[in-house]
């Protein structure tokens, strides 16, 4: 058996492990990430004309999840704050949209940005006391948030419709575009996803991204370098919640229904699964993570009707064995192997 020291050292020098807690600070996407993303967008624009309504809806859901996961990744992957409660922001976003449309008759287009701003504020405010909580304690606090949201939603049933939830109608394509409601929602989500990804990428590759990573990896040194950790951490919380809230609003539009028990603790845990499977602190990770959390449970269901979640659990574990740094970490490594092999510079 090798000692822990030699193993961590070896991994570190191979550049794979910077910290045991999270993936290495990789802010700028790699060539493969950009190329893959472009190919994906091109493919994504063709998809709606090939797939049936339900399949298409599943991909709409993937985009929505990807937005939420990007949000959580900003907080957990880049900034190192573990949240077990992002389902709550997703729920707040969804209910914001539903209440605005159903109770107040606001056009649906407004609900998405409003959900984002509202969650930005709520997230920021929640992030302020959370500053005092480290690691697990923050996880517990966010966990409590996730637990209480369904109960709070049921409590204010005048607005939320209680356990019954709110039924919406699906928005039709505007400007007489020749699209079905499914296709329109698909493009809408894709569009929002692309915009938010560009924004996120800009945010993360610059000063802000470096500050977030610095706070994650070495908070004391970051403070010493003049980074206002408190501000950045609350900001990360706010932005992260805003992304997730936007995703929640989109999901309300896509599903045309909200109910309190959808936004339970397991949704939050699913999001955490998504960012780890996709790859922490990576731009492309949320896409892979979203694909996983959307499709793998279905495949598990196909494999075993009796115990689908057992199959899902096995998938989770095997995935983590094969790709401990998530899909994007795996691809990054494969890419490096490939370039190193072709360049022939592998050190002896």
């Amino acid at each position: 058996m090798n000692s822990e020291i030699s193993e961590t050292v070896e991994a570190a020098s191979a550049g794979e492990v910077a910290a045991r807690v999270s993936a290495p600070p990789r802010v700028t996407p790699r060539a493969w990430e950009v190329a893959g993303l472009l190919a994906l967008i091109a493919g994504a624009c063709l998809l709606p004309f090939e797939l049936s309504g339900f399949r298409l809806f599943q991909f709409t859901q993937v985009f929505v999840y990807a937005i939420a996961l990007l949000g959580l990744n900003i907080l957990t992957g880049y900034n190192g704050q573990i949240s077990l409660g992002h389902g709550a922001f997703y729920g707040i976003g969804a209910y914001t949209a539903a209440i605005m449309i159903d109770r107040w008759g606001v056009p649906y287009g407004w609900t998405v940005p409003v959900a984002g701003v509202l969650c930005l504020v709520v997230g920021f405010l929640f992030g302020l006391p959370a500053l005092r909580l480290e690691g697990l304690y923050l996880a517990l606090a966010t966990f409590a948030l996730a637990l209480s949201v369904p109960q709070i939603l049921k409590h204010f049933d005048g607005w939320t419709g209680g356990s019954q939830g709110i039924v919406l109608s699906r928005p039709a394509a505007p400007l007489g575009l020749p699209l079905t409601a499914d296709q329109w929602l698909y493009f809408l989500s894709l569009g929002v996803l692309l915009v938010l990804f560009m924004l996120g990428w800009n945010l993360l590759r610059g000063r802000t991204g470096r500050a977030l990573v610095a706070i994650r990896d070495n908070p004391i040194a970051a403070e010493a370098m003049g980074v206002n950790a408190a501000l950045y951490k609350s900001l990360a919380f706010g932005v992260s919640a805003a992304y997730t809230g936007v995703a929640g609003a989109l999901s309300a539009l896509a599903i045309a229904f909200v109910a309190p028990d959808t936004f339970n603790v397991f949704l939050s845990i699913t999001f955490l699964v998504g960012i780890v499977i996709g790859g922490l602190a990576s731009i492309s990770g949320p896409i892979f993570g979203a694909l996983f959390i959307q499709f793998v449970p279905n495949y598990a269901q196909d494999i075993s009707k009796a115990a689908p979640w057992a199959i899902y659990g096995i998938f989770l574990i095997v995935f983590m064995y094969v790709m401990p740094y998530g899909v994007s970490g795996f691809l990054r490594l494969a890419w490096r192997r490939l370039t190193r092999a072709t360049a022939g510079t592998r050190p002896k």
Partner: protein, 293 residues
């Protein structure tokens, strides 16, 4: 006053269960920095095992003994076979593996035993115990007793045996432990085994109260998580005390604060805990984590 005392005792009984499960969380957390989300489901599965043993005609205590043994071996095996491959992976990766275990145990239990709620026997007499004018539930008192015995045994093991010492050492300082010849990997596995054993006892003690079903432990795990956090994830004794506190707070809040009722009990308990943590972020009995620059 009588109601108060009864609520405190039954709070202590459930609190002991939370504390036991919290202790198993802390034992694994201290050694590996990982919160084992599957802890509750492992306990649930063990409880089902005891249930089927009894259905096959075994006496309660024989089933109890067999179950804790199997749980111990099972916990050990899970560490060796399932956790070890990700030992050096990032912590969140390991956490996801424990989540995988959670859904596997839950789903397999539902598959084998169905989701129908089953009664689970208590080994204690059913006649209520009177002290003065106050009536206590015998199972409550019995569960407190079992919990205390278990805790004392564990304390003695860690405090006075060289294996217990080695396990503590391995959790604190793996590199130095190897230098004195401790097989750190096996100590971790033993830790998992003991944690599973403690969880199994907790499961069997709580099942008569909340009944047996595959999701029975999810609420308990949350309370255990809260207890460990409240007491301090770095302090096994603190986690147990945290459990008793959470149990009592939960019961008293449910009884005396009318708007809470049963629905918001959990939320209110958690909110209280978070308030406590804001004042003392390392938990009531925990050490502050010293960060290196």
């Amino acid at each position: 006053m009588e109601i108060f005392l009864q609520q405190v005792v039954s709070g202590l009984a459930t609190g002991g269960i939370y504390g036991s499960l919290a202790l198993s969380l802390v034992m694994i957390y201290q050694a590996t920095d990982v919160v084992n989300f599957a802890q509750g489901e492992m306990a649930m599965f063990s409880t089902y095992l005891a249930w089927s043993l009894m259905n096959h005609g075994l006496s309660y205590w024989l089933a109890f003994a067999l179950t804790v043994t199997v749980a111990f071996v099972g916990g050990l095996a899970i560490q060796r076979l399932i956790m070890r491959p990700v030992e050096n992976a990032p912590i969140l990766t390991i956490v996801i593996v424990t989540l995988g275990l959670l859904v596997i145990f839950n789903s397999v239990a539902g598959w084998i035993y169905s989701y129908i709620i089953q009664p689970f026997p208590s080994p204690f007499p059913t006649t209520a115990i009177r002290v003065g004018s106050v009536v206590f539930g015998p199972h409550d008192l019995g569960a407190i007793g079992v919990t205390l015995v278990l805790l004392i045994l564990l304390y003695a093991f860690f405090r006075f045996t060289s294996l217990g010492l080695a396990m503590r050492a391995a959790a604190q300082n793996p590199a130095s432990s190897r230098l004195v010849g401790i097989r750190v990997g096996w100590m971790l596995a033993l830790g998992w085994g003991l944690a599973a054993l403690v969880g199994a006892v907790a499961g069997m003690m709580v099942a008569p109260v909340i009944f047996l079903e595959p999701n029975m432990m999810s609420g308990i795990l949350i309370y255990a998580f809260a207890s460990a956090t409240l007491g301090g994830f770095t302090s096994p004794g603190g986690a147990v005390l945290g459990g008793f506190l959470v149990g009592v707070i939960e019961n008293l809040a449910g009884t005396y604060i009318s708007f809470i009722g049963t629905d918001l009990k959990l939320t209110v308990a958690l909110v209280l805990i978070i308030l406590v943590l804001l004042v003392k972020p390392s938990g009531l009995f925990g050490r502050a984590v010293v960060r290196r620059v």
